[in-house]
Amino acid sequence: MDNVRNFCIIAHIDHGKSTLADRILELTGTIHTLSNEQVLDSMDLERERGITIKAKSVRMPYQSGSGEKYLLNLIDTPGHVDFNYEVSRSLRACEGAVLLVDASQGVEAQTIANAYLAIDAGLEIIPVINKIDLAGAMIDDCLLQLDDMLGLPGEDALLISAKDGTGVPELLEAIVARVPPPTGSADEPLKCLIFDSYYDSYRGVIPHIRLFSGSLRPGDKFMVKSTSKVFDVVEVGYFLPQATPCEKLVAGEVGYVGATVKDIGDVRVGDTIISPDHPETPEIPGFRRSQPMVFCGVYPISTNEYGKLKTALEKFQLNDSSIVYEKETSAALGHGYRLGFLGMLHMEITLERLKREYGQELVATMPSVVYKVFTTQGEVMMIDNPSKFPAVQNIDHVEEPLIRARIIVPSELIGPCMELSDAKRGTLIGMEHPDRRRVLLTYDFPFAEMVTGYYDKLKSVTRGYASMDYEVAGYRRGDLVKVDILVKDNQVDALSFISIRDGAVPKARVLVHKLRKLIPRHLFEIPLQAAIGGRVVVREDIAPIRKDVIAKCYGGDITRKKKLLEKQKEGKKRMKMVGSVEVPQEAFLLLQKLEE
């Protein structure tokens, strides 16, 4: 066990984490030829978005310069603000972290956030300046920032280029030298952390585990601490990066355990696995349960696929325990689920993956934060769905969730950044100058502003130079109203939204206008209305269609025109019926785009 090193790489997005992982895999001979493909990012989506969503681990044999043989376990971590929870989970499986900083970019908001998480988890941090081969590398600035912003002494940092391999052998030596070996004994009772899992349709749930004490081998039994359910171990192994069975896993090691767990609810990521002979073994502490921050409704396009959606969500939650869901019924959309996510990116990625991996055609309603509604009866309700807001006369006041955001922005772009933040109801908390080029702004924002695209806007007004991270910061009272949308006199619950009173009518106007452009003309007139507390504030009408006809249909046209009609009909199947009106799915996404 003394020769085992469990570590992860943490970085701001695009600072070269995956490239470094590839280089390390190559240097340790874990993989021999490397294309441009990044090995740890196996999901298409991850590669497309350039972020690692799911934590995974790879075991690598390594012989150090001194001739000593080691086993390195690289635990992959996601690198976006939404995924703090998954980062912290992965960090629990490590003793050390490589903190990667792009020499041309410097310390960014997520560098700070991730570093804090690692420090909190008690990890040994190895600061590394990457991309030193770039012409724009500002190594001295980076070293200064590490010291100033994170208290990491510059002399501890290594200088590398993951791309061409410079400094990477030295980094491996540093990992061996500086990351402490795991503690805990193979002779003590079993205690493992499930830090990830995947579902194999033949073998059931396969948890990824980190053993803190004891050992695990085929034929053993284990107990899931939270449920006390006991399972038989069929197989144990590790990732090379492909799954490789082995004789046993012992304290300090990282790997997987196959145990014919069929019910995906039985083994939750974050749970502790113990020995049934020692049910008193305590849970692994410090494991933070994530709080979903953003909710949206998800509905199958055709109502008969509700069952398929349920199965898909069950499987999905197995791979991502941070997602919560419960049944929801919408008058407009039928039966579906309300899903809770860690943040907007998490939501977007999850919905994409649901569609892709499970082949589900879905309607997703506009996301909402969780409001605290204080009723006149003195109750406090947590409302994650605008359509569930109590009637106006029953509301005493409403509070909305806040976040505290850290924004790093080049000094010359501080103007547009502050202007935007002000428009988005931000309260400036602090301003620091970590170096001569940049400003670190701290703001409190209503979280709802993140849902309506603050981050994208920030990126665009700062030409991509700003970076941001945030944490939850309680609730604040706001003058908020609910806006209802009526399509041909039917209230569309999925289009209701909450807004500050001042901005409600302009927003409603934009939404109604966009709906008018989006909903196809029907044979009858369709009035579109927005109402606040029963009072109509905006109205537009969709005029009835006058012409939808195939003028020419002769011998040569029949088959082609028939196909045209069938295509028209197919298009309608992708619409949602709201009363007698066919509403395209995109309508339910409009609210997110209101401010563009």
């Binding site: 012409k547 006809v549 249909c553 011998g555 309608k572």
Partner: protein, 368 residues
């Protein structure tokens, strides 16, 4: 009832809205083309036909001599002894007395003239190469030369068109004595020059609809029955050849891009003139053989285009069997109760108010 369609894929110049298979400047092949068509006709042995329709392209570009060769050849190859109607599409600029006389001599008894409009501005904007005067002259000539039925095509929705100009076009045409009009709403077909760069003064769909409805009312006042979505005729002067399409009858199409429907099978020749000249007998593609249920739906869709005749429960049941039309008739009944169709208990017809919004109805009819 079986119809014969012959496609003549030559044009002097392609019109802005046209998506038919026609090739400008390939007229030098006309001679060998006529021979190829006759060769293809022999494939259909001694099948008998009651109608012939020469369409295009511009059939009148063939010229008198080749027209005679073509018709003579077809008469030898096929059984045309029971011919009731023989239509030729004629474009005003090539409608010479010589050609029309030759057509009459060859046995053509119906002329369909591509007038489109009697406003020179509108003709120009549509890329037509004839004038209004030429068009009136061609129609008059055809009537004089004793074509039993003369029809003119008109387009609704041409750039710059107004109700006044449309009504003037119709009035001038009716004065020539014609008894059949095809009135088409302009549609921008994919790939046509008009679709690629639509002129700014193009009437909107709503304006087109208004113009068309005005035209329909006007023609009804002049005794022309709106018998198909785009066709108007004095009673008894309907186009038999086209009626056969809408009654889901059999037809053979000769020439590249021509479509056929025989023995329950639909197919069309590949749109490739050179391949056709090489071997006209082996170009069938897009072959479609439907089962009885789908076939019944298709027939109902087609017959509903016939605004007076519509589709009858009796004829559907007789042709396809009770088992294959149950669901279809159920749908037709439901649509009747929803006001999409009108029924007297035995037949279903499209209500006049739904003629211009018939696509959703047809789509519903087809959704077996």
């Amino acid at each position: 009832m079986r119809g014969l369609y012959v496609h003549i894929p030559f044009c002097v110049k392609k019109c802005g809205y046209c998506d038919f298979y026609s090739l400008p400047a390939r007229l030098e092949c006309a001679e060998s083309y006529v021979q190829a068509v006759i060769r293809e006709a022999y494939q259909y042995g001694r099948l008998s036909f009651q109608t012939v329709y020469l369409g295009g392209g511009t059939p009148s570009l063939l010229g008198a001599g080749r027209l005679k060769t073509l018709i003579d050849g077809l008469r030898k190859a096929l059984d045309l002894s029971g011919l009731a109607e023989a239509t030729m599409e004629v474009n005003p600029e090539s409608a010479t007395r010589e050609l029309l006389e030759a057509a009459r001599e060859a046995g053509m008894n119906r002329a369909s003239i591509g007038v489109q409009s009697l406003s020179d501005c509108e003709l120009k904007s549509a890329g037509r190469i004839h004038t209004a005067a030429q068009a009136v002259e061609a129609v008059g000539l055809a009537v004089t030369l004793g074509f039993g039925a003369v029809s003119a095509d008109l387009i609704v929705g041409l750039p710059g068109q107004t109700w006044l100009s449309l009504r003037q076009s119709m009035e001038a045409l009716l004065r020539t004595g014609i008894e059949h009009l095809s009135v088409y709403c302009l549609s921008l077909e994919e790939g046509t020059p008009l679709a690629k760069s639509p002129p700014s003064e193009l009437p909107s769909d709503d304006e087109q609809a208004v113009l068309f409805e005005q035209a329909s009312a006007f023609l009804a006042g002049r005794g022309l029955v709106h018998y198909e979505i785009s066709n108007f005729a004095v009673e008894g002067r309907e186009c038999l050849h086209n009626l056969n399409y809408w009654r889901n009858g059999e037809y053979v199409g000769l020439g590249p891009a021509a479509a056929s429907h025989i023995s329950g099978k639909r197919f069309r020749n590949r749109a490739d003139l050179d391949a056709y000249l090489d071997d006209p007998t082996d170009l069938a593609e897009e072959i479609e053989q439907l089962n009885a249920r789908d076939k019944a739906c298709e027939e109902a869709m087609l017959r509903l285009r016939l605004l007076k005749e519509g589709v009858g429960i009796g004829e559907l049941t007789a042709r396809f069997g009770r088992d294959n039309v149950g669901a279809l008739i159920g749908r037709l009944e439901r649509m009747t109760s929803q006001g999409m169709l009108v029924s007297d208990g035995a037949r279903y017809v499209l209500p006049p108010s739904r003629v211009l919004t018939s696509n959703p109805i047809f789509a519903e009819v087809l959704s077996e």
